[in-house]
Point group: C2
Chain length 335, copies 2
């Protein structure tokens, strides 16, 4: 018999196959193969092929847009949204539209073409985290923006068009639908219980233990009870905080370590799978802030294809129960 | 400059690339190649390899579970949900769960292994449509079910695990999230305007004409102003009707024709792309019926990959404006 589970935050149902669960080897996923790329615009020496750098962490004495950087941020050469102009919302009969105002930046994680973020040293990952926070703190001063999403696509199967590992940032003039749903769920729970729903989830996971993948002093990584995807993992700060960009600096090394640990374990189980992760954080510049919201990272290895059932319902079919996924990911440590 | 568009029904935003739109040849999609399959369980002579047939349209005098059928319905051998038992909803700390009660059936469109639904004759497609309606009318008598979803996955890239073309039906003990969102949107619009939002959309599309792909007396096919996917097409009855299964019989031949026409045109433009379609219809057995809801089919060729931006926001990036997609699909007729 399968099991239906309901996400306590957004109210999404999933169907977990508890009867004939998939083992890791049952997934026919498309592994990510490093192919190399001549004249990669994200490699040393090719800095002129990207738009000019916005910021970078650099070796002392090196000039902008030349080699010597550790992390480098540039505008996306093919932005989904453009940074100039005022927002012009209007109707067209029954429809609504707006010009595409926003920011779309690329954070080049490191100069190494074939090092994923989990292959970097802890201090190098910490540099990426600090850079992401700094970009948010800068962009939030632009009052046109209501939300900043940070995400990573790794591997062609996860939508990455360039091989050199990078992270993306999009600043949007509205709070997106999926974020609103989470905020509403968190608000309803807080109104009802006067507690943060994410803090309650952390408490239950620490007590039950069976979905925990890894933890350290400041962070917990676990396979959520209502995963949308098999082997989905959330990384969440143990101490309540609504804003990724307001992370206390003493938490940064722990976050770097847990990101490295989580991705490395997934790679040990699945080779080098494509994956996405998204940082879920509170909106900016508006009254949509929610007391019971708690920032976190959602990490999803790309093992399955979304099909008609998912598109039609918003339900997700999860072939491996999260409890079992956590077990595979934990056992890899001993291997 | 790109354009932001907001879906008037569910409130979803999309970003349309109006500046550097993709032409059909710009999509690197995975075409569906007929490979053939020894001992296909959906081919004539292999009827014993599937669970026993629930209903079939057959040549007179042929016995159940033998050749001679035109359309055949069986239970899914690996069902996502199981039909036996009562629904047992319960809590587990902060989480909610239920046993996986539901029905999961497979409708084998025809005995032809390498004929997609658009390759069938009109009367054969009409047989499939009638069979789908009959399955709903039968299953809705089971009061445990609140929603019946019909969908098709064609091609491995769209999640099809068997090559022989088939359609799927899932009966669920709750109204799924995506359907609830559409129902809420339609209800809000009806409360405000006392009109069906889908009827208003049809009116505007017939007036503006630029997104229409094909129409006949009873149906309209158009690329929605707020498509989530490039070359997405909706097929909708021109006359208001909340229930697919209550389609007047005189509309069936027109629906068969427009399904054939739409899929054929997409195949002329893209070869044999993978695709999904879902039938969106009103819930059953509940008080969630909505006066302003209007059944329709959402057809989505699988041309792009959903990535971190979409998962993080619920926004969609659409590289070809729907107006341009409709133009490509229309021009193919003359070719």
């Amino acid at each position: 018999m399968s099991e239906l589970r309901r996400d306590p935050i957004a109210g999404r149902w999933i169907i977990v196959d508890t009867d004939h669960p998939n083992k890791p080897e049952d997934y026919e996923h498309e592994p990510t193969i490093w192919k190399g790329q001549a004249n990669c615009p994200f490699c040393y020496g090719n800095e002129s092929q990207t738009p000019p750098e916005i910021i970078a962490i650099r070796e002392p004495g090196t000039a902008a847009n030349t080699p010597g950087w550790h992390v480098r941020v540039v505008s996306n050469k093919f932005p989904a949204l453009q940074v100039e102009g005022d927002i012009d919302r209007r109707g067209l009969g029954i429809y609504d539209l707006s010009n595409g105002v926003g920011a779309h930046e690329v954070i080049i994680d490191s100069p190494y073409h074939t090092k994923d973020i989990s292959d970097l040293e802890n201090h190098e990952i910490a540099n990426v985290i600090t850079t992401l926070c700094n970009r948010i703190l800068d962009l939030r001063r632009d009052k046109r923006f209501k939300y900043i999403l940070i995400f990573k696509n790794f591997g062609p199967a996860a939508g990455a068009s360039l091989e050199h590992p990078h992270t993306q940032l999009v600043a949007l003039p509205m709070v997106p639908k999926n974020v609103k749903e989470e905020l509403n769920g968190a608000r309803n729970y807080f109104d009802f219980r006067e507690r943060c729903i994410f803090c309650d989830i952390i408490r239950q996971e620490l007590q039950e233990k069976e979905r925990i993948v890894f933890e350290n002093k400041h962070f917990l990584a676990f396979c959520p009870f209502v995963s949308r995807f098999p082997f989905e993992i959330w990384i969440i700060p143990k101490k309540h905080n609504g804003y990724f960009s307001q992370m206390p600096s003493e938490e940064v090394p722990d976050l770097a370590l847990i990101i490295k640990e989580v991705i490395s374990r997934v790679k040990k189980v699945f080779g080098n799978p494509a994956y996405n992760f998204m940082i879920h954080t509170s909106p900016i510049n508006g009254d949509q802030n929610v007391e019971g919201y708690h920032w976190h990272i959602e990490f999803m290895p790309k093992l399955t294809r979304v099909a008609g059932f998912e598109w039609g319902t918003g339900f997700y079919l999860v072939p491996t129960p999260p409890e079992m996924a956590a077990k595979y990911l934990k056992e890899e440590k001993q291997g």
